[in-house]
């Protein structure tokens, strides 16, 4: 019994921190070298480096290189395209791959659009397939608290979004909303899971354009049903109160716009008077004291 405890303890202590990736064919012996490159026929230099540090913490660290790099790994065409990368993930993650191809990102992906997000853009620490980490790890780009920022890598870029006619500052307006505030003020603890972020309303792998009728946020009826997923009993009137990632304006919920105007005038007037009486009284007190 004491021996068992000793051995168990030794395994725990000595084993801790030892999470090196499974590398049955010693690929990292060469590919762990950051200066390893090759030059393709067109003369382009391509890095063949795989960061051991990242691959050791990756979700797939115990899956051997050859699981993805099938056949003769050295005969493979490099670099992979975004589509061929997604195909590779889809060999195991069949369902996610299938759904992803139906999403707004996947549809564009199949048309060869290099802008769109695919697997590694949301799941990898660096964009490299070797640095994909699990969603529940707090550093993961797809961890609840980080999702907004991950989407904002593209959707926070006005120029890129302008190409697709998306003018709403979706990230800023989300961060101003109660959902965004809760995410920002929340910790990295698991309680974050119940707070809404981009994917809770727009979908995850099946994400659709907001103007696509099949999107969960297209039209008041389906928007209300989406709200209702968290806000039990929410109806169309509840959904109507959503500013739609835009500032209030006379066209967009005028009541809110005029409320903002009213309170701005009220604040400036009242605080202006307050500042005048405080500053003028303060100066008067100082003058009185000085005269004494």
């Amino acid at each position: 019994m004491p021996l068992g405890v000793l051995i168990g303890g030794a395994i725990l202590i000595l084993g801790a921190g030892r999470s090196s990736a499974l590398d049955e064919n010693q690929c990292l012996a060469c590919h762990g070298n950051s200066s390893l490159t090759k030059t393709d026929p067109s003369g382009r230099v391509i890095s063949l480096y795989v960061s051991e540090e990242l691959v050791n913490i990756a979700a797939h660290r115990f899956i051997d290189c050859t699981t993805c790099h099938t056949g003769d790994p050295h005969a493979v065409e490099t670099p992979l395209t975004k589509l061929s990368l997604a195909e590779r993930c889809g060999q195991c993650h069949e369902y996610q791959y299938k759904v992803h191809l139906e999403s707004v990102h996947g549809q564009q992906l199949q048309q060869g659009n290099p802008d769109v997000a695919t697997c590694v853009d949301c799941h990898s620490l660096t964009g490299s397939p070797h640095a994909v980490i699990r969603v529940l790890e707090y550093k993961a780009p797809a961890f609840k608290k980080n999702i907004g920022e991950t989407c904002a890598k593209c959707h926070g870029d006005p120029e890129l979004m302008g190409n697709y006619g998306i003018v709403e500052r979706v990230y800023e307006s989300y961060m101003r909303s109660f959902h965004g505030k809760a995410i920002q003020l929340g910790t990295y603890e698991v309680t974050q899971i119940d707070k809404a972020t981009c994917t809770n309303c727009h979908g995850v792998h099946d994400i659709k354009s907001a103007i696509d009728p099949s999107s969960p946020v297209a039209g008041l009826e389906s928007l209300a049903q989406t709200c209702e997923k968290c806000h039990a009993g929410a109806g169309v009137e509840f959904a109507r109160g959503f500013l739609g990632h835009r500032e209030a304006s006379p066209e967009n919920i005028a009541a809110v716009y005029y409320a903002e105007r009213f309170f701005t005038v009220l604040l400036i007037t009242v605080l202006g008077i307050g500042a005048i009486i405080v500053v003028s009284s303060g100066i008067r007190y100082a003058i009185n004291r000085w005269k004494e």
């Binding site: 920002q184 929410a234 919920i253 009486i277 405080v278 303060g282 007190y285 009185n288």
Partner: protein, 252 residues
């Protein structure tokens, strides 16, 4: 011997102070102040969620769930205090048959006083305005709360129960309530921390704080200086009066 000296000293002190606020008014002020502080501390991070200090502060409390609960408790206390005040007011007027506290109602004199005080500050007048029981700043504070608490409680209720509220009211009421709640809170906060802080804590003669709302008592000298008209009325009617305030009005 010592007892006699002690009693005599106490009587002397009593005579030097006039009652300005009764126990109910003092409790109401403490309740309002404490709930206000809790509401600010638990609500302000929501206004600046991106700031590192907000995130640290919320984590210090134990997360948004905790500040949310604290904010609601603060709100319940503030609403309770406000209800207490209105009930107290009605009770003194209807049951105790005291005269309605008409001196809290803004009047033409307040505008004149405001102008005179401003003129005094700018060196255009030699003397400050002469106040009655409540000066224009005190009236403004009082009525600001009379406006502010319903706005904050109403909008806060809408934000607490948006699904329930939108069963009866249009959807825009929710984002409008957020605007009202947020802006009115900033107004109240800034006013309290600038104007109230200045006149009740920092101004000469009151520094570090005007204790009358906590003790209920004001020294005879200060009463004469700061609420001259009321003081003169009190002393004219009953020289050596130690009751003052609302009780005095009862006798009229």
């Amino acid at each position: 011997m010592t007892t006699q000296v002690g009693t005599a000293a106490l009587e002397k002190v009593r005579a030097e102070y006039l009652n300005r606020f009764d126990i109910h008014q003092r409790i109401q002020h403490i309740g309002l102040a404490l709930s206000f502080i809790v509401l600010v501390l638990s609500g302000l991070p929501l206004k600046f969620p991106a700031a590192g200090i907000s995130q640290w502060w919320v984590a210090f409390w134990g997360g948004v769930e905790v500040t949310r609960a604290a904010h609601r408790i603060g709100a319940y206390v503030m609403v309770l205090v406000s209800v207490y005040h209105v009930v107290y007011l009605l009770y003194t007027v209807i049951i105790l048959k005291r005269p309605f506290p008409i001196r809290m109602i803004p009047s033409r004199k307040d505008i004149v006083d405001f102008y005179q005080d401003l003129a005094y500050s700018f060196g255009l007048r030699k003397e400050k305005a002469v106040y009655d029981r409540y000066n224009w700043r005190e009236k403004f504070d009082y009525w600001a709360i009379f406006w502010g608490v319903p706005v904050m409680a109403g909008s806060g209720f809408i934000l607490m129960y948006p699904v329930f509220v939108t069963q009866f009211l249009p959807g825009w009421i929710v984002p409008a309530a957020l605007v009202a709640h947020s802006d009115e809170a900033m107004l109240a906060l800034t006013w309290i921390f600038v104007v109230h802080m200045f006149f009740s804590h920092l101004a000469p003669g009151v520094f570090p704080m005007n204790t009358s709302i906590f003790s209920g008592k004001v020294s005879r000298e200060r009463y004469r200086r700061e609420h001259t008209l009321e003081y003169e009325r009190l002393t004219a009617e009953n020289t050596g009066d130690t009751q003052g305030g609302e009780k005095k009005e009862q006798k009229k």
